[in-house]
Symmetry: C2
Subunit: 325 residues, 2 copies
Amino acid sequence: MNRNNIDIKGIGEFFKNNNDFLILTHKSPDGDTLGSAYALCESLQLYGKRAGVICSDEIPKKFYYFTEKIINNCNTENPTVISVDIADTKLMGSLKEKYENKVMLSVDHHVTNLYFAKYNYVNAFSGANCENIYEILVNLGMPINKNIAEALYTGISTDTGCFRYSNTTSKTHLIAANLMDYGINNSEIDRIMFETKTKSKIALEKYVLDNLKFYFNGNAAIVVLEKEQTEALGCSDDDFDGISSITRCIEGVKVGITLREKENNVFKGSVRTYEPFDASDICKRLSGGGHARAAGCEITAKKEDAVKKVLNSIEIEISEKNIKI
Amino acid sequence: MNRNNIDIKGIGEFFKNNNDFLILTHKSPDGDTLGSAYALCESLQLYGKRAGVICSDEIPKKFYYFTEKIINNCNTENPTVISVDIADTKLMGSLKEKYENKVMLSVDHHVTNLYFAKYNYVNAFSGANCENIYEILVNLGMPINKNIAEALYTGISTDTGCFRYSNTTSKTHLIAANLMDYGINNSEIDRIMFETKTKSKIALEKYVLDNLKFYFNGNAAIVVLEKEQTEALGCSDDDFDGISSITRCIEGVKVGITLREKENNVFKGSVRTYEPFDASDICKRLSGGGHARAAGCEITAKKEDAVKKVLNSIEIEISEKNIKI
């Protein structure tokens, strides 16, 4: 079912008929929401409109290379509000109350989009929302320059794990090819996005490797991240990004589990699997849930007992599915 | 200067006029040489020719997903030899003597190619040699199926660091887009190529993180990999791939140095930098050389003295270039 009530041509009319645009990103902004917002903002400005970007949270410094060049010149009290990469008004953070009923146009790529705007343009076949923004700009003949291309490339590259995730399509690469022709510095962008790690993140990775334990003939790897110890490393929530996937990267490991202590004796479990193990089944037995390859659960127990519960669920998985280990 | 003495049309004639092809890869085979060889081999077979692949070294298991499907059906004593991704006959390894004077066609993308074959087709504007093979197959209307597309994607993805390196071009993405249309499993391929690590590699990474030392206000990071200790971890040469770049991934680090002890008190130094540090200048003062961002040197000294020599060269770099640290 297509619940879109505006097409690209309609968006063109919408841009023509308004003059002051305020573009809203989601909270904890990432490359895709910021890339979408700043690319659209600069293109609208070059098209002769006034526009600005707004976000409930601070913009991480690593995105400054494309965000800093844009100055908000939309200074009216009643701007035309556009949201980008926002599936649900909850994701507006502290700006929810002010804007949830004021969004005129929403451009998004999440299949879970709640169609909260007056006009909704949702294309979930796009790996990144920046693919949607690119298609809108190109089809309307709106301006694209190097900075806009770098913003769009950032969104596409980050949301597809640098073209690795299964949401990458032929279209993703075609758009990347076109963006490369604007002379973007893809290797520098990807270095900033993927290669640079904080010292506390490095310390956390080291902690994971130091504390990793193997079970079931190397098929399972479990690491427990104790609160007191990770706090002592100075880790922020950002540092935990991607940490759960480390366990599954090791040769032979088909079930990787990270137990992160959120409060005293309360562990958030992240389970990552490869076939034939099912992360969702493993977590269901621990009152959690999720997908076959990635699932989660919460366990309240002492560290040793939390590990035992997880091992027990994996043992049932192995025996029920006759998995050879 | 273009020293090519054959174009794609000429290659088409060459394929037509011969029937038994033996395709040679370089030693220590990687994704690009194997992708080139197996894609060309299968396409020639589907085109009605007999063909096989030969390599001086064993093919790493991780490539079996595209190599195992191809059976060598070229069984003549005097095959028509094609080399792929080989810039210099030295790279033929133990097969050099037998084949160095027998290569009829060489398809390569290295600017350093020595034009050792009868017919040489070198396009150094291609990030991966698989881009050249793709262009040859497409322009000649030769068969491409899913397995061929997966072989070609593997070469392109591995030689461009999954589209991150500066050798990635608009053409690279265009070809990837076309290969995606054959239904290739890009996320599984990139997982195998980039995410899976051996236990000894994990142990080595841990060793690096444990032994990393920072200097010059966090601008430089140095790690010494001692022979006895890395041997005790069970590390193979493969495990050292990419290890030198770990040092430069840390926030704030602009010079990352890995000193790997090859023999007792002989250290191979790998220097990776960001601006304004110049790796080539740092290594020149240590009788080495290379590029601005990546260079190398060899230091014969006790561990402590080797580190001192490196620190001294960095200190000169900082003072000569007035670098603020």
